[in-house]
């Protein structure tokens, strides 16, 4: 309700005036379409999901199901399949977020200065980002073929060129550590070749979007700061590290938080390119949850899937909270 106004000089009736009531009614009518859809499809479904996660509901259509308390959550933290998808997605989020942020900052810096054709380059760089995840996945399925252009490029520069990228399940550390090793722990094994191929694709296609955000922020930094710094004899490098990076802090928070939320939920590329294979090394929680609700590959388990979704959401929330805290605390120290 309306905040109590400062002591009124004239005694006013506590009720809203009829004009104000009319205004309130009109405002809520204007907001009604959003409020109704948000109440049902965002908050309603979230509450419903929370409820389902404590039941043993199987399929979507009405069937008898019972309340099982926190059994689903207990089962999830001991479920190897789910833990494997978490290990995969943690590697994915870590590597993709870091590399695409660095790439975007570098590209934005390269573009941000007085130059001709800036519009042109910006347009060219951004264009591939408007294509759908399905288009990108199809195109890279072609490029990653054993006889595809990635191998052709490696062949030209004289590297081994016979990798079946999306069928190779060897983990990064199994490759790096000499000798024929197999590591059974899905996290310690490191991301598989197939998984790293999907990472490379997504880093490549996300850099331009993030680049635009950094570019917009760079253009808001007053030029006088650099003038003053160069008068004081600061080198280009010093200017970059002492002026540019600290002033980009809010953009870093935004980009990291958005990337974290996005990467942890990766689904489309897995569904189109690998369906979680080879040997579950590209399976993600999003994909597993999707399989659980539709009962593809497994029997449908909606309740269990909902519990996994909340665990995933908690993990995302935890990481974004850490990022905000870490970077904002750093800002106070400066």
């Amino acid at each position: 309700m309306a905040a109590p106004a400062a002591p009124a000089p004239v005694k006013k009736p506590r009720k809203m005036s009829s004009a104000k009531r009319g205004e309130t009614l009109t405002a809520y009518l204007f907001l009604a379409p959003y409020l109704i859809t948000a109440a049902i499809f965002t908050f309603g479904l979230m509450a419903y999901s929370f409820y389902i996660s404590f039941t043993d509901q199987e399929g979507a259509i009405d069937k008898k199901f019972g309340f099982v308390g926190i059994d689903n959550y207990i089962r999830a933290v001991g479920d190897n399949q789910f833990l494997t998808t978490l290990a995969n997605v943690v590697w994915y989020a870590l590597i993709v977020t870091i590399l695409q942020t660095i790439g975007a900052v570098l590209l934005a810096t390269l573009l941000n200065s007085k130059m001709r054709f800036k519009q042109f380059f910006r347009t060219i760089f951004y264009a591939p980002s408007v294509a759908s995840s399905v288009v990108i996945s199809m195109i890279f399925l072609l490029l990653y073929l054993r006889t595809g252009f990635i191998n052709r490029f490696l062949d030209i520069v004289g590297l081994p060129s016979d990798t079946a990228w999306l069928q190779n399940s060897r983990g990064l550390f199994e490759i790096l550590i000499p000798g024929e090793q197999t590591i059974s722990n899905p996290f310690l094994r490191g991301p598989s070749v197939a998984w790293m191929a999907i990472m490379a694709m997504n880093i490549f296609t996300t850099i331009p979007t993030l680049m635009l955000m950094f570019l917009a922020a760079l253009q808001d930094i007053p030029g006088q700061l650099y003038e003053a710094a160069s008068l004081d004899g600061a080198s280009k490098w010093q200017q970059f590290f002492k002026i540019t990076l600290p002033l980009l802090r809010p953009t870093f928070v935004l980009v990291l938080v958005l990337s974290t939320i996005g990467t942890f939920q990766i689904f489309d590329q897995v569904a189109v390119m690998t369906q979680g294979g080879p040997a579950n090394t590209t399976s993600t929680p999003g994909y597993l949850i999707y399989s659980k609700v539709l009962g593809e590959k497994t029997s449908p388990e909606s309740g269990y899937g909902a519990a996994m979704a909340f665990i995933l959401a908690a993990i995302i929330f935890f990481f974004t909270w850490i990022q905000r805290r870490f970077i904002e605390q750093g800002a106070q120290k400066d």
Binding site: E23, T24, T26, Y28, F30, L31, P33, Y34, T37, A38, F41, T42, M46, Y48, S49, A60, I61, D62, L110, L111, K114, F121, F125, Y126, A127, P128, S132, V134, V135, M138, I139, F140, L142, L145, T147, G148, R152, P208, T209, L212, M213, A216, I221, G223, Y226, S230, S235, P250, T251, V257, I261, Q265, A271, K292, L294, S302, A306, A309, A313, I316
Partner: protein, 309 residues
């Protein structure tokens, strides 16, 4: 920070430190070369895929691959256009294109109307609960979509058995359209823009006795054209590219949108590479054309997305 949508931001002159002239010329050349090479690199996957649509599957799978086809099979496109699959009574790719198109158009119209209505209330009207609602709306943008995946499916599965044979559930378009009628990002974008428009004109209209809706419809909306175009193309792109929703809810081939249809087609005809790539082009080319026509608005939409942080 205000969202500037109608004028190109001018770059505050970044003064370069005095450097030897020769070095600076060299650096300029290197930079342009680097940017051109990167631009080409980002575009290369599209160029390669486009040319592969004129090849045979055999040629696509042969080593070493070449960018240009050895023999140009122009008929591939007509063959793809006329492809039929069991269970669908018309050519499959035109059908999926049409489904994608009308879903996108309905989404755009709904979002422009409902988001701008809500944004007008947030930007111009005073009512109890305004700030709380606006904060909740912003916070809700951080809710991971995966949470509503399962209940969404369970909920809509139940809506297929309503009285009078009404079906709103699986294998209808309602589960894709309804949740996207008004979205927080669109409301936020337009609210910021409406706040940046001077109030005088509206006040004059109010004195002339125009009601709230008239003021919104005939004064504010026309002035918000740039922001509406930005939201329009972003929501078109979102709907056109949407995969998860249609994948979950459209389980019959004749109902699918192009993204899901393509994935389905790929699953059925693993080795028909030319058709798969032509279908991919059907999805990519329209959105690329829209992008090149409206690129200014895309860039500004991205910048506006950056403001919310």
């Amino acid at each position: 920070m205000a969202v500037t949508l109608n004028q190109e931001k001018t770059n505050p002159s970044v003064q370069t430190a005095p450097t030897p002239r020769g070095f600076s010329v060299l650096w300029t050349i290197v930079r342009y070369a680097l940017l051109l090479a990167l631009g080409l690199l980002f575009f290369m996957p599209f160029i390669i895929s486009f040319f592969s649509t004129f090849k045979t599957t055999n040629e696509i799978l042969s080593w070493p691959p070449t960018i240009l086809p050895k023999e140009w099979l122009w008929d591939n496109w007509a063959a793809a256009w006329n492809t039929r699959i069991p269970g669908v009574s018309s050519n499959i790719f035109p059908r999926w294109l049409f489904n994608s198109l009308w879903v996108a158009v309905v989404t755009v119209i709904a979002q422009l109307f409902f988001c701008s209505l809500a944004a007008y209330a947030f930007a111009r009207m005073e009512f109890p609960g305004k700030n709380v609602l606006f904060s909740i709306m912003l916070a809700s943008m951080a809710i991971p979509g995966v949470i509503t995946l399962i209940p969404g499916y369970v909920f809509f599965a139940k809506l297929n058995n309503l009285p009078f044979g009404i079906r709103l559930g699986i294998n209808t378009y309602w589960p894709i359209l309804l949740p996207n009628l008004a979205v927080p990002f669109g409301i936020f974008l337009l609210t910021q823009f409406f706040k940046s428009i001077p109030k005088e004109l509206e006040e004059a209209a109010t004195i002339d006795g125009a009601g709230r809706f008239r003021t919104y419809w005939s004064i504010v909306l026309p002035m918000a054209r740039p922001a509406l175009i930005t939201l329009g193309i972003l929501s078109f792109q979102g709907s056109w590219n949407n995969f998860t929703g249609p994948l979950l809810f459209l389980r019959k081939p004749d109902l699918m949108t192009l993204t899901v249809g393509l994935n389905f087609f790929k699953g059925q005809y693993v080795n028909d590479w030319p058709k798969i790539m032509i279908g991919t082009m059907f999805n990519a080319i329209p959105i690329l054309i829209i992008f090149f026509i409206f690129s200014r608005y895309y860039v500004e939409g991205q910048a506006a997305a950056g403001v919310k942080g």
